[in-house]
């Protein structure tokens, strides 16, 4: 007999039939009347069953409620922390700008400072910690139309090539979607998005480069990066447009503090000097 037919045939515990048979034998022998009422023990078992079932149901619903509450708690914690970080960032930016303002005010007022202020603003200009404006080019790149796979999208390596080519062509300051590139900026894939200066970018990518508007486009087109982008445009279908602008304004960025790099002096410098 197969397992399933056996299960259905013996769904009722055989003990019931056996007990009934025993009782029948007892009755014919002149014993007690057949007993088929539900007694106190049966009622007690039923009560236990009801307690079990109600407890299990209560437990399950309570568990799901608890889980849902925990999930909400976690989500709200994440949101709180994000907001806190955002607030701290704003504070940092505000303090930095205050600091810069006070510094320049101090240097302007002291007669001994001399050319320090000019040096400082030049350094800030070069390192990307002050906003700059000037003529240059505006480049807008975007994924191919109906991009299905990564092959038809702008990758971090594509943006790196583009930026390299622009530096090569004589760009003096570059920003991508409002993120100023400094000597410590990385263009990289973070998850599904490209991130610059730890900020996620979304397409289309708008690259501003300050430089000579007359020579930048042609020098870029001549460079290997420019050629590579021409290929990308033709073969993959990435969208690329470059326009010269008479006046561009690039934002400043928060330069992270240097913790390990120190100015190399003659006494400490061990590398090429």
């Amino acid at each position: 007999m197969g397992l399933l037919p056996y299960l259905t045939a013996h769904a009722l515990d055989e003990d019931y039939a056996q007990a009934a048979a025993r009782r029948a034998a007892g009755t014919t022998a002149g014993g007690a009347a057949p007993r088929r009422r539900i007694g106190l023990a049966g009622a007690l078992a039923l009560a236990v069953f009801a307690v079990l079932a109600v407890t299990a149901a209560a437990q399950t619903s309570q568990d799901s409620v608890t889980q849902e509450r925990e999930r909400r708690d976690l989500i709200s914690q994440v949101k709180d922390r994000k907001a806190a970080i955002e607030a701290e960032r704003r504070t940092v930016a505000r303090l930095r700008s205050d600091n810069g303002r006070l510094q320049s005010a101090l240097l302007r007022n002291s007669s001994s400072a001399g050319g320090v202020l000019a040096d400082l603003s030049l350094l800030a200009l070069r390192s990307g910690t002050s906003a700059v404006h000037g003529p240059g080019v505006e480049v807008i790149v975007d994924d191919a139309i109906d991009a299905q796979s990564d092959r038809f999208k702008v990758l971090d390596s594509d943006l790196q090539k583009l930026v390299n080519g622009l530096w090569r062509a004589g760009a003096e300051a570059i920003s991508i979607n409002g993120e100023r590139l400094t000597n410590r900026s990385a263009i990289r894939n973070a998850g599904s998005a490209i991130s610059v200066n730890y900020t996620k970018l979304s397409r289309p990518y708008r690259i501003l480069a300050i430089g000579d508007p007359k020579t930048l486009p042609s020098l870029f087109a001549d460079s290997t990066s420019g050629q590579a982008w021409l290929d990308l445009q033709r073969q993959v279908g990435l969208r690329f447009s470059m326009r010269t602008q008479s006046s561009l304004r690039l934002p400043a960025t928060e330069a992270p503090d240097l913790r390990f790099a120190k100015t190399a002096t003659a006494a400490h410098g061990r590398g090429a000097s």
Partner: protein, 110 residues
């Protein structure tokens, strides 16, 4: 009549007392309930068949609950807890269906 009273008292007790299941016994409770359900449906069928016996019901109830919990416990220790629980649920489910079919025949003569 006394069966219904027992059932109602149990429900009321469960709702009022809300017994807290120890965390160690929590995985065994659902399967114990299914096993108890099987015993209850078996008893109902036996009652309609006219062969109900109090003692058999109580014994089958306790042994069902105990064995179901034991199987889950063993499965947990052997690393096949989920599979064994599934097996137990399938077997008990088939039995419940078969018993309910018999009860249906008694009640509706169909």
């Amino acid at each position: 009549m006394i069966a219904v009273i027992g059932l109602l008292v149990g429900v009321a007790l469960g709702l009022v007392l809300k017994p807290d299941v120890p965390i160690g016994l929590e995985p065994y409770l659902p399967i114990a309930v299914v096993a108890a359900l099987d015993a209850v449906f078996g008893a109902a069928r036996a009652f309609l068949d006219g062969i109900f016996d109090d003692k058999v019901f109580v014994v089958s109830f306790i042994s069902n609950v105990f064995i179901a919990a034991l199987i889950v416990f063993l499965g947990d220790k052997l690393g096949v807890g989920a599979q064994l629980s599934t097996g137990v649920i399938v077997v008990l489910g088939i039995r419940i269906f078969a018993n309910v079919a018999a009860i249906r025949r008694h009640l509706f003569h169909a």
